[in-house]
Subunit: 310 residues, 4 copies
């Protein structure tokens, strides 16, 4: 897999998503094109106009896991290449020269507003909320002289980029909050196995099968593969039809994961493989001896002897 | 359970959430108080200032399932009393006397904007997006003379209430879209069993237990109880700790559901019961003979004979 | 449960089965009636002419586990009251005054002969085998002057009782061999829980159910109940129909065992409970917290609160 | 696999085991050597002095399933090549010229005696039992002038062979009784797949693994492989250690069976494969689409594409 040389990301400039992208080795010096939506970022990868796209995937003030994974799973195949965890810290930014006493109306995204309400109520309880489509958009508006508000809640990155005055730091309720982002490329880019990997799948529930969830999960359990995330999602087409979105510990090049995937494919041939990639937390799963690559190789050899009459 | 006589709901007036509340028999003539957030609506129920709260729970343009269920699960106990499905249809509303040709800037919530983009691009491609905190807020702003925009994408209900001009109907991409809402009351309100019920639970993953998900799901499977929704959620406190949010078919007064809940409680004593209530789609689950109330009663009698030396 | 005061056992006098009975506290001074077959011993208990019967159950030179359990399971209900392990040691017995050099023909049961062949081949290789219906019958024949043979392989007990000359001791191949016997009474005799108990069941496979074995075993696994023995048996009536004979760790008065038994009864109402009784080896099972009696009581209380609207 | 040209079987001549062997196509005209014990029959195959051995395996009046399977599983590898079902019918045989009224003492194996007691009690209630080591041995003794008895209960085959008088036919309690026998060869003889096959395995329980039985059975269930027999057996060496003897539906050349065997080998590397062979009853298992050979091939192809970056 060649390292990507051009990227897109959910913009505008200065979002937490761009911060995630800048954590990728080499991305700081590469071409970076902001995209308006997750969908258009992914389409740019599919069309080949960029090599990879950074998009938010979980708990984000800028998006949710489901919409992003749905967008990856539908259409021409894509692959998740890596995940990044970004600490979420908010600053209150004003125009250069402004002070905390000047703040009357604060623009930001609704989720960010919710997370900073305690600080606002305590420190500038008269300030009103002005909804913006993203924290970065609020900051850009402020820098460009938008008149409806005089402060923005945004990331430290965008405040610094735009030369805004930082009136207060770390104003969110939750300290140590992190958000997960994924870098998405094309199918020919399968990241190498690191020993601390994650595999993301979308698994349709086989049609006429009531106990099918247990059957699906058993494919993982029977090979000692743990799941770190599971979510049932309605297919949207028919009432009562579901698919499952899961993250499994391990890489498709691990024998136990490959074997589980083959088992899943037999049960649910519409299965989508969204990628195997290094875990951001670098935690290796505990692999029991009987699900190690060695145990798989030994079993293959043993069965070969039987079939060969030995 | 006495029918509630006063309600709150996620406002402002005219949201799809109020539309959901108006589907509840008797709610049209009862006191209805809009709330600013899901959290404040639930707090009003806990405090006793209203009897019940209608809040959005799934796929909503006004909120997501996770945040709402988290808010129900934390703090003083609440109970889900019923669910309502509301068809989601969007109208383009303008000021009285306006026509489609006058529309330059359209206010609405980001999700609603995403769902109506195709129609906008086809019919009024020059129009710009103006972010609002909700579709109803956009409509109210328009009615109150807010100057930043000249049209709103909102529900038919709010457009009619406020006397706005409906410039176009059914402008969303997805026809037949429905959103799920739940009515939330206090623990003493356990809805009666109807035979077509749903039980919502929040189940922490027991601490030091790697294969614990299968163990949890097996409590349902062993009693023939199907799940219609499952979602793993990080607890937010420790990396690697999870809980599960599930909807199970059946009512806690069904013997098989009661037995599964007791099994879950033994494994995960921090389990939260969020309610048993009638399914909006009125579909009864297929109950196998061996998980019927009769089979449970027969087994109890048989064991009693053994313990009694008969 | 009143201690039995009269017993029967698989005879004749001096069998390993009588040795097992003599291990029961109080049985040495009680009335002991030998029976010709396992079936007639059990019938005597059913008819009330004795209180309990000692019969061989496993790996025995005098019978097999299956036939005995089948005999207990069919007909009027009986209960296993306790199990006894008896060390199996063989002696070569001759008529008073005889020496090893006089032995030409040796009578014994076929199984005992098989287990002593190595010794015979090494020490008196010319001796021939004379089949007998039991080791004790061979010894009795010798004492009574039966002419077909001049030595018997039998238990030390019967040789001593009949005043035979012991020509050699411990002549079996397997040192430390033990055989299991069970004492069988009537249903009103449920032995008290000791904390190191075993429960024996006969479970018919539900008729039209292909994956039914897993479903049956899951009733134990879901309650943390281990099995120490499992055996599938054809019902004998229809090809393809099976039942299972199992020993489970624990006593029917343990909440986890009672719950498993109720689960089994729902699936397979023809289930037979053959008894809960102290393990001969006195080993207590490791009980996980979530399957303890306390966990069951806590879960019952929790569910009661929900149903009571608390 | 070349058809065997020489056979051994559990003798003496005229046993039900020889009757089973005569059901094998071509065996009637081949060399047939009786063996004294199951063990010596199997040793003759291992040593190469014969090509295959017919031995009793289930419910037999001449042996039990456990002892035979244990003998196959220990020592140099052997393979079960086919199974035969033989109807078990007993005749009462006397010396030429004798009538029913002459019968005083009847020789036979203990199991046969038990099965014919009802007939004896009804028709010649004065007759005594004389234990013999096999039904065939009783018949041979009669033909050779053995003096201890004047009739034998034996198979019709041996009575006819030895020219004995058949005094009564079908004297067993159970009509339609059948007994199962297996033909055993060497590892290079793997019978071809017929579509209605059976695979016999011996699976040690992995040492430090309490829930290991479910884990073992799940390897079959996860691949849709049914079991037609399961039996736990103590290893004999350590208290608390077990192995399992099972018959699974299907042939090792069926992809689902091969995959299950590999899964078992990973868990329990001491697994013994005793053979895949045609079922005597010719019943084909119902194979679900997702466990068909086609589904396995499709899954292999799909995974190959992922690993190849397609």
């Amino acid at each position: 897999m060649t390292p990507p040389s051009s990227y897109t990301y959910l913009g505008p400039e200065g979002t937490f998503t761009e911060a995630a992208l800048l954590q990728v080795p080499g991305a700081g010096g590469a071409r970076r094109v902001p995209a308006l939506t997750v969908g258009s970022a992914l389409d740019a990868v599919r069309a080949g106009s960029v090599d990879a796209a950074m998009v938010p995937i979980e708990n984000s003030v800028e998006g949710g896991v489901s919409a992003t994974l749905d967008a990856i799973a539908v259409g021409a195949p894509l692959r998740i290449l890596r995940e990044e965890l970004v600490p979420i810290t908010f600053v209150l930014a004003g125009r250069p020269g402004a002070g905390l006493g000047d703040v009357r109306r604060i623009a930001t995204h609704g989720h960010a507003w919710a997370q900073c309400r305690t600080w606002v109520d305590t420190n500038i309880s008269d300030a009103e909320y002005f909804p913006a489509s993203s924290t970065a958009a609020a900051a850009h508006g402020l820098a460009e002289g938008e008149e409806g508000y005089d402060a923005a809640i945004c990331s430290p990155l965008v405040a610094e980029r735009l030369g805004l005055a930082v009136l207060a730091r770390d104003i969110g309720d939750v300290t140590d909050a992190v958000t997960r982002f994924v870098l998405v490329g094309r199918p020919e880019d399968l990241p190498p196995r690191t020993g601390a990997d994650k595999t993301t799948l979308v698994i349709p529930l086989p049609e006429d099968h009531p106990g099918a969830l247990m059957q699906i999960l058993d494919q993982f359990a029977a090979r000692g593969v743990n799941l770190s995330r599971i979510e049932s999602r309605p297919t949207g087409q028919f009432l009562g039809d579901y698919f499952f979105s899961v993250d499994a510990d391990g890489h498709v090049e691990d024998a136990r994961v490959a074997d589980a995937l083959k088992g899943l494919h037999r049960i649910s041939p519409g299965l989508r493989f969204l990628g195997s990639y290094a875990r951001a937390d670098r935690r290796s799963p505990a692999v029991e001896r009987h699900t190690s690559d060695d145990a798989f190789a030994a079993a293959d050899g043993w069965l070969g002897d039987i079939l060969g009459g030995r």
